[in-house]
């Protein structure tokens, strides 16, 4: 076989960090981030998550739509091997510890180890390249995932989060529960799993990230041994156009919680295109969230001192491939009161924006958080992967952050907050929710 593997070096002198980009002959991009820690951490990931439920490749006669929760179901099922040898055990035998996760835009398989790196890497590439789905093992998983769904349903923060997404979005698929529902996963069959696997688990749609004490030659050697050469295949993914306004403004569910939990969301109506611009925009909104609602601001401290909020309150900004929103959530006896104070704060900041000094402090804070990422192999690899799939180079994030200006902040505060883009979900204690009309 002709080997066309190419290696490129990327450096950031200020940070003292670098990585190798290996364009492997198989079609898989590999990123090796050297780090002198005893744990090496690897991630083998595909751009495939709960958002990808409608797609088409040139092998499909028409657009394919699959049940909710199938990407996550597939992740569970990848641990099953034809020879019956348990994948966790294969890793455990050589002292590596394996796991996996599915989000709305990716599925990632990971391991960490202190020894036997290349053996572990071989197992990782091997098992993800070899699906084995049968009627029997699919049925078994429906039981396990059914319990996972129930566990998540009992988690009030998670319920709150999805209630909010359902308020914010009319059609955007980000509101689909990653695990699916008991009903949707009951429709999953081995045939559907193979179809999704064959579409999304193609090397050109994937990436391998290794962070720790690893050598390029030996990583390439393992990839040469395990990976077939796969030509690029185009995947068309179908998304629905999302209106600018929220779907609904309030939702309230009753659960067994001590005090009401609230989540206020502010929908971002920007066109998400990926790459540096989206990253810069996300950093800008995170800084705005900090300046308006963070621990050094007037709003939070007044609300804390009055007992309206406690230290469970958090302000952040979340973005996916297709959408973004600012999230303000916590516990409060009176969520409507908190909501009105939030709106008041927004209006006030549009009249009197935060000072430049506040902006500089927020910037320092985000810069420090960025530096801290580099203190653990799993931290670096996960950040790197997220950035990579978003079209951003992690080593450039510091520069992107520096490029955000005070003027950007002032303009975005005017632009971002609109009444018709705000909603609030509440999880209330059962005694209060029961029989109550709203």
């Amino acid at each position: 076989m002709q080997n066309n593997t190419q290696i490129f070096e990327h450096k950031n002198e200020t940070l003292g960090e670098m990585y190798y980009e290996i364009r492997h002959t198989s079609g898989l991009p590999i990123y090796l981030i050297p780090k002198d820690l005893s744990t090496t951490y690897a991630l083998f990931a595909t751009r495939y998550g709960s958002l990808d439920n409608s797609f088409r490749t040139r092998d499909d006669a028409e657009m394919v739509t699959v049940p909710d929760g199938i990407a996550h179901f597939l992740e569970h099922k990848m641990f099953e091997a034809e020879d019956g040898v348990d994948t966790f055990e294969r890793f455990a035998k050589i002292g590596a510890s394996a796991n996996a996760f599915t989000s709305n835009d990716m599925t990632a398989y990971e391991f960490s180890c202190t020894d036997n790196l290349y053996e572990a890497l071989e197992i990782l590439l091997d098992y993800v390249m070899h699906p084995y789905f049968t009627e029997e093992n699919v049925q078994k998983e429906q039981g396990i995932i059914g319990q996972e769904i129930q566990m998540c349903d009992d988690n009030p923060m998670r319920r709150l989060y999805y209630e909010l997404l359902n308020l914010l979005y009319v059609r955007d698929k980000v509101k689909i529960n990653i695990c699916g529902t008991k009903e949707s996963i009951a429709c999953i069959t081995p045939k559907l799993l193979y179809q999704c696997y064959n579409t999304f688990y193609r090397l050109s749609n994937m990436a391998l990230i290794v962070c720790g004490k690893a050598e390029c030659d030996r990583v390439i050697e393992v990839a040469d041994k395990v990976l077939p050469v796969q030509p690029y295949q185009k995947i068309d993914r179908y998304y629905e156009a999302e209106p600018k306004s929220v779907a609904a403004t309030r939702a309230k569910v009753a659960m067994s919680v001590a005090r009401p939990l609230f989540a206020v969301g502010i929908k971002d109506v920007r066109e998400f295109v990926g790459g540096r611009e989206d990253e810069r925009h996300a950093l800008l909104l995170r800084m705005i969230a900090d300046m308006l609602f963070g621990s050094s601001g007037e709003f939070y401290n007044e609300m804390y001192e009055c007992g309206f909020l406690n230290n469970s309150f958090d302000a952040s900004y979340e973005a996916s491939r297709t959408s973004g929103f600012m999230l303000l959530w916590g516990e409060a006896d009176d969520p409507e009161l908190v909501y009105s104070k939030i709106i008041e704060k927004i209006k006030e900041s549009q009249k009197n924006p935060p000072s430049e000094e506040e902006f500089l402090r927020a910037k320092r804070n985000h810069y420090a958080a960025y530096i801290r990422t580099f203190d653990s192999t799993s931290g670096i690899a996960n950040e790197f992967l997220e950035d990579l799939f978003a079209g951003v180079d992690t080593l450039e994030v510091g520069d992107i952050l520096s490029s955000v200006t005070y003027e950007d902040v002032v303009a975005e505060i005017q632009n971002f907050f609109r009444d018709e883009r705000i909603a609030m979900a509440v999880v209330a204690p059962i005694a209060e929710g029961r029989g109550e009309a709203c």
Binding site: T14, L15, D36, S38, D86, F88, E89, A92, K93, G95, A96, S97, S112, T114, D115, K140, G143, I144, I145, Q147, E148, Q150, M151, D153, D154, N155, M157, V170, S245, V246, A247, A248, A251, V253, A254, M255, S256, V257, A258, S295, S296, E298, N301, Y304, G307, R361, R364, H366, A368, I371, R372, D375, T377, E420, I430, G433, R434, G435, A437, C438
Partner: protein
């Protein structure tokens, strides 16, 4: 990297972990006191009140601003139970000066230590006592935290089992005590607890980062110079009671989809016991990892649950197994968990299970050095439990352990308490959910 440890006298100890692999440095002060019902509540409130302000930075906002000025320095304040001891921990962490802009003159580490010193030693006082407003609001927050425990059903069931199982022992007192114990806390109580923490608690100071002990130790020295320390730092031992008088069953219920099963066992094996490492291997095989008997059987073979695991607490001699299940599978799951324990007792352990358990533990110990905070937690535990081994010694010992030893250790593990938090679906669905439509959508 071995620990440099020095007795600074009067119950204050300095611990230094020197490493140059990180971009940050951390410094922490741990006050260690006995964990008792009488003081649990006041010691939960105290660090929260200290976190509210000092004379130089009199409120939370001023503190947060200062931390941001110091390039996102982090301050964390925690108070937790370790066996029958309580640790009140204040940690500061900063990025290294290397990563600051070239023209920046500030010495981050020195500045953040000065902030920590202010918070601990120079709080905002009025007539010699903490501010009433700070005290009242933090008492309310602590009570809210205790009430909010039910929000996380898994954690709640776990803690509830421990509380019921160790009823009458200090270990059974919840980490933050009981809600009713907060009502009587006066300004005087809080001030007295503060003085007692400063003057009588054992103090363990930790540093982790690039600097040498010569540079950092004087800071630790100076911290307690002005405090009138009245102790040699002696702490009472945790009482180990491995005998089971009667197996007890508890059933409670909460509105939820899923039931939570928690099974508590007692063992005489604690962290400084000669079989401590064997116990760790045993737990890996039983329910401590994804290749354990519980995971492989209760989850993978029987499909009863998504999560099923076990965790040992060798500060007390406890082993707790856990599963999130459908209510109707309660007895099947109990039987299977006990059957797996029985298998280990009968030496039904494969070579692979033993091998995997050893590898997994060795790897966990090797990776301790990758995080200053994990090392600190590990060393503090070692200091408080009174054993001497370094992580490398433990790894060496792990590799020598035989199946017979594991089986022998498993026979010391005795079933004590079966706790079940039933998921009451009917209560869940009778509650009203509603959504308010936004007529302007689209």
């Amino acid at each position: 990297m071995p620990l440099y440890r020095k007795d600074l006298g009067r119950g204050v100890f300095y611990n230094h972990i020197q490493t140059d692999v990180f971009k940050t440095s951390s410094f922490s002060v741990n006050f260690v006191v006995p964990h008792r019902r009488e003081t649990a509540a006041v010691y939960a409130v105290l660090p929260m009140v200290l976190h509210r302000g000092c004379r130089a930075y009199p409120d939370r906002r001023a503190i947060s601003r200062r931390l941001e000025e110091l390039y996102g320095a982090a301050l964390s304040v925690r108070s937790y139970k370790r066996g029958e001891l309580r640790v009140i921990n204040f940690t500061v962490n900063t990025i290294d000066n290397t990563y600051l802009p070239k023209d920046e003159q500030i010495d981050l580490f020195k500045e953040v230590l000065s902030l920590l010193s202010d918070l601990l030693l120079d709080p905002v006082l009025e007539d010699g006592h903490f501010l009433v407003s700070y005290t009242e609001s933090e008492i309310r927050n602590c009570k809210d935290t205790i009430r909010a425990a039910i929000n996380n059903k898994t954690r709640y069931a776990f803690d509830r089992c421990v509380e019921l199982m160790f009823e009458g022992e200090h270990y059974g007192v919840p980490s933050d005590g009981y809600i009713e114990d907060y009502d009587g806390i006066t300004q005087q109580d809080l001030t007295a607890a503060y003085r007692s923490m400063l003057e009588e608690a054992r103090v363990e100071v930790f540093y982790g980062g690039k600097e040498s002990p010569e540079k950092v130790e004087p800071f630790a020295q100076s911290f307690f110079e002005k405090v009138n320390r009245k102790t040699d730092g002696h702490l009472p031992d945790t009482v180990v009671s491995s005998e089971v008088k009667k197996i007890r069953h508890f059933d409670e219920s909460t509105p939820a989809e899923q039931g939570k099963l928690v099974i508590g066992f007692r063992t005489p094996i604690t962290a400084n016991h000669r079989d401590a490492v064997t116990f760790a291997v045993f737990n890996e095989i039983f329910g401590g990892s994804a290749s354990s008997k519980l995971f492989m059987n209760v989850r993978e073979k029987m499909s009863l649950c998504y999560s099923c695991s076990s965790v040992g607490d060798t500060t007390k001699g406890a082993l707790i197994a856990y599963a999130g299940i459908d209510n109707e599978n309660k007895q099947t799951t109990i039987n299977e968990i006990l059957k797996q324990l029985d298998n280990i007792r009968q030496n039904v352990i494969t070579d692979e299970e033993l091998h995997c358990a050893k590898q997994s533990l060795a790897s966990a110990y090797q990776s301790l050095v990758d995080s200053v905070s994990s090392l600190e937690v590990w060393y503090l535990r070692r200091i408080l439990c009174g054993y001497k081994e370094e992580p490398e010694d433990v790894i060496e010992r792990v590799h020598t352990i035989s199946k017979d030893e594991v089986a022998a250790v498993s026979k010391t593990v005795n079933l004590d308490t079966i706790y079940f938090l039933k998921g009451d679906k009917s209560a869940l669905y009778s509650a009203a959910d509603c959504t308010e439509e936004n007529e302007d959508a689209e």
